[in-house]
Symmetry: C2
Subunit: 166 residues, 2 copies
């Protein structure tokens, strides 16, 4: 520790084992999230999305090209995904995590599409209704890092590698 | 209407009376929201916040200067607030609205602080616990417009004036 200049107080700690467990639980056991994107003017936008995890533990979306967030991600891949534990009472008392991501649309003719569809439908069976709509595409969200908030005053940062459940 | 070039299909309609009722209900009767901000690198960020409405019907926050979203808003006022109806079952089947906003921090010595604190504590009585913490400030979110999603295929845009409940 240096004595001068004073390091500004940083309330965010590196993730410990318990924080990683909570983070992986949130990604594995939550089905919906808030997605932050940038619109054509660079203004932040937030929307509700469903998501699933690929085999490497990274989140991905199945979204319509007609929706605003898809258009944003196709024009600018910078995004964040907020996953939180649904629960009764004060949501600020429950754990939640913001994963900063880089969006990577999956080409329609990619070999990955069949596996992603299987994984997505396993988590969201009702999506079968629109699984074959031509305007729907898969978009991978490659994690760049994350901030976990485990409740009042319990803030942790996770590296890109730490984010993904093994 | 021009005949050429063809106008691209726009699935978003101007808000009708029912859409405005839903929008105002969401702002008046929801206590928590997802907030999209921009971090120091211009990357989108999403976090969970509690909010209340001022007397003009505009949302405002009561947040710690130590938190990431507050630091983002103080450096860059562009934001969006996603409000949704909490409910059981598929959240994508419930109405939700994205309000694009300009953040305006309220100076600690402003005459508005007393009224904002009263309005905020009426909606969030538990905030009394930290109401007098020196790091907490009020930030108004001036609406610039909104997108309402009333369920699958029901998308509406609202002007800045339409967003605020009267």
């Amino acid at each position: 520790m240096n004595t001068t200049p004073a390091k500004p107080f940083d309330p965010v700690r590196d993730a410990n084992e318990e924080a990683l467990r909570t983070a992986h639980h949130l990604l594995k056991d939550t089905r919906f999230a808030s997605l932050a994107t940038l619109d054509a003017d660079g203004h932040p936008f937030a929307s509700l999305v469903s998501f699933a995890l690929d085999r490497a533990g990274a989140p991905f979306l199945f979204v319509s090209r007609l929706s605003a967030h898809t258009q944003h991600l196709l024009a600018n891949p910078r995004a964040a995904l907020l996953v939180g534990e649904p629960g009764k009472g004060d949501p600020l008392a429950h754990a939640r995590m913001t994963v900063q991501c880089q969006a990577e649309p999956v080409p329609k003719d990619s070999d990955d599409v069949i596996l992603l569809k299987t994984l997505y439908l396993a988590r969201h069976p009702k999506a079968q209704l629109y699984a074959d709509f031509p305007d729907f595409i898969f978009i991978r969200l490659k994690p760049l890092g994350a901030s976990l908030n485990g409740g009042f005053g319990k803030a942790f940062r996770l590296t890109a590698d730490e984010v993904k459940p093994k």
